[in-house]
Symmetry: C2
Subunit: 594 residues, 2 copies
Amino acid sequence: MKGMEDWSRSDYCGEITKEQEGTEITLMGWVQRRRDHGGVIFTDLRDRFGLVQVVFSPEVNEDTFELADELRKEYVIAVKGKVKARPEAMINEELATGEVEVYASELKILAEAETPPFMIDDEIKTSEELRLKHRYLDLRRNPMQDNIKLRHNVKQAVREYLDDNRFLEVETPMLTKSTPEGARDFLVPSRVNKGKFYALPQSPQLFKQLLMVSGMDRYFQITRCFRDEDLRADRQPEFTQIDIEMSFMNQEDILDMIEGMIEEVFAAADIEEKLDFPQMSYEEAMKRYGTDRPDTRFDMELIDLSEIVADSDFNVFSGTVADGGQVKGINAKGCADFSRGDIDKLTDFVADYGAKGLAWIKVTEDGVESQIAKFLADEEIDAIIDKMSAEAGDLLLFVADNPKVVAASLGNLRLKLGEELDLIPEDEFDFLWVTDFPLLEWDEDEERYISLHHPFTMPKEEDIELLDEDPTAVKSQAYDLVLNGIEIGGGSIRIHDIDLQKKIFELLDMGADEVEEKFGFLLEAFKYGAPPHGGIAFGLDRLVMLLGNLNTIRDVIAFPKTQRATCLLTDAPSEVDEGQLGELALELEDLELD
Amino acid sequence: MKGMEDWSRSDYCGEITKEQEGTEITLMGWVQRRRDHGGVIFTDLRDRFGLVQVVFSPEVNEDTFELADELRKEYVIAVKGKVKARPEAMINEELATGEVEVYASELKILAEAETPPFMIDDEIKTSEELRLKHRYLDLRRNPMQDNIKLRHNVKQAVREYLDDNRFLEVETPMLTKSTPEGARDFLVPSRVNKGKFYALPQSPQLFKQLLMVSGMDRYFQITRCFRDEDLRADRQPEFTQIDIEMSFMNQEDILDMIEGMIEEVFAAADIEEKLDFPQMSYEEAMKRYGTDRPDTRFDMELIDLSEIVADSDFNVFSGTVADGGQVKGINAKGCADFSRGDIDKLTDFVADYGAKGLAWIKVTEDGVESQIAKFLADEEIDAIIDKMSAEAGDLLLFVADNPKVVAASLGNLRLKLGEELDLIPEDEFDFLWVTDFPLLEWDEDEERYISLHHPFTMPKEEDIELLDEDPTAVKSQAYDLVLNGIEIGGGSIRIHDIDLQKKIFELLDMGADEVEEKFGFLLEAFKYGAPPHGGIAFGLDRLVMLLGNLNTIRDVIAFPKTQRATCLLTDAPSEVDEGQLGELALELEDLELD
């Protein structure tokens, strides 16, 4: 195994063009393939920019040809050679460099390679576990290289846009104090201050607000955040956040600014779609889609039928309405041919969201077919059909329950059917700002109000007076950006008034001591002239995943952790010796083996 | 306290020009000063971009004038008003907006402010402790805003340059495995994997090498690193590193690439000096300056006199040489007038570095004056004067000892005198690449070899064969970038060969088990085709500090920690409740109170 000595790479493999015909070049990279044919050795040489065919022929250099016989897949080599145009018949249209090949006059083997545990191909059939264990090999594959490149481009675009708009990048501490984001903190024991702990930040929320108090005016940071959650679905214990805050801007100013950023991000991802950023209130989103992050790429909205059935003889419906509940339905267009079995499966599905049943009406050329038709008056059925714009061939599905259950069950049923019926255009990017969130909700379990966003969220000015009499009626100046039904960012105007902030803490049932200990420094800062301010934060991993049309954020993170929060490559976390713990004044409890 | 309602800022305070005369503008910011004069209230309004004078006159608007009477320092306000040119006599040349003032027609007080604990002025006399406790106020001051802006500009310039050169930004994990940088790791207990710990990275060294194995070709990241050291001098437990790695590049390629980056960084800092990047071997630096990070802004080099005095009758000198030691001197130009007391102080100073004494010769018009002249032959004195280019008025200072003590004592004495004699040009930027470091040194205490850089550093190809017979004679392909005597970056070509890497681990006295546990994944990666690669890392904090001509890295970090590793603003680290520790299966040992 040798170094490159005085060899110097002249070009990247994937960028050799016909215009270079006749020139001597030096390439370095990995052997993707090797074929022997007609007394000549053909290899595909690969680097980050693509492949080129390198030919070893005894007619060019006998020694080089013999050395080339040692080449195997993934060997790292350097070659000097001459660019030749391929004969017309040999042109490979599928390769960017398919018009040329390089006749090697010299070869240096820089590193040998054992057969990798999986092939370095675009499509591979191997477990994610093996990919993560050998991540350095997985990252050699084109799709992964594309993901890393996309992530790079997105970050550069974000920074350039914010820099152009006079934002300042400011770094905030990683070894900090527990933040109030609601999840568990990762703790870091201090050795210098034994018995005390830093927390890794769940977000730089308080620091960015303090930066506004310090007059930074516009702040951003693309930074790592940490949440020690039980890992559900597609979460990582550490994730990257695009964190933004501005002073002296109202909500509309901020949304405008962010829309401009998203447009730059899409341009950087080579997506040339005209983007549109409609707004919808939380209330309307819940009403029409049963969720605060609706996928607006398709219709099938939730239709409220409560008025129509309020006086119905069908007690399941009218009784629910009388008890303060709702009856809502969705129209599964063209699904009148669903079998009883099909519908039973949908019923099981909504049961997971608390629905006690799923009523249905099939609309046919000959009238309706339904288990509940006999309980409903003809006028009621007509009114339902009319309100749901139902036509022959449609299947109408109903849930009668309290608003939460109706929203969850029909909202999720809509998504399920949208997917199964292939109603969702794959290559569309539908944005939606969801606004006017409630400031607080009542938590039954904890018997106190909790913040829907976080305790620093500003109420709508006109609702502030409701804080005393009817807290849950207060709307906030909070906004989420939803893309294709996935929340990619969220933010708010913040409270900058010390008394209002204290009042919110009180409503959240926080005692004066707790407030002082956790947020005393923020309240102290507000004493000295805090500007009106607000901001937003985006989950970078998820954003890049959506831009890349990928299924998991693990594919846009170079070295992700598993669902068990372990790194299969380095074997982190791992045990440490007692001496290290002793320095931290810590002891490990006896652990029962799993 | 109110929000801005429908007010929208039209301009920044510091950017109002005479060209805007007569236009209506809306400004928002902080009241820097307020003066009442001739029935009119003058305020200086401040935002991130500067100050402008805002005038409240009853002739413009009586109500606004009356409201303005409430204004105090650091109130946050919004004003609407008209730009007027100041009369010639009132122009303030020292203010960017000194040609104009704004006559306010409307005023909104956005936030009141108590009197801050220190004034928001460029120069303040207050303890750093108070500044850190109220960092949000400290950051309002112009010098601190300039520092943050400089840091922003440097980071943007670095990224732009590297992006232009086709580097990819890749994020590496923060929750990772113990890295081998030599300092203590900060540990993060895992809750999901009880009894196990992540380590915060001391550097992304291994990950960036793996990224090279993965074919990323050129990587960079500006990332936080962590070292749990006893905090000496100007260190922080968390610091920011510009981390860079490249494949298929030799040392000269890499240095060229980095020099281009530094030039962009200086341009971004508005420093228009022609930069020069000379190289000097470690051996030469130690010989001439007694240190591997010489401050080359001034001369006063260490002169080796060992040959001259080897056979001297003065046994202190000749005996030292005979025992394998050295006699070296520096020429303190024009210091012949130093008193005995002055010289005694210098003797005490070098004693701290192990020197058993400091011999001296004063060169005068009438010959030499010295405590040692009588022991030296005239030819020896003449030869010394000649070799040290001494003239009348110079003071020659000598240390005779082993090379380490000579280097440390005279190297530091040189720096001390350089400073005291005002020999160091303040506004000069002198770079120096120090190269050809020894690969290993023998550690007397641990009785084993240790790496001068780190165990992944590539030996010089021609020295590899010396690894067996004479390990400390092996030079490495390592390089440090020194600026004005401060190391700002360091790196090396890395080993990419599995057998060579194993051999180095053996030399470092690491057992096979330890190697496997700590670096097994790296060695495994090298099996599958690792390209030649190398890189460098810069301490961003220190670099920005030097660019800003500042004395401490705390001034370029928005929220730094104290020497005790605490955050005075948030009071981190802090105690946590037992429940949190219980979830981590940890117990705190009983701590004795300090």
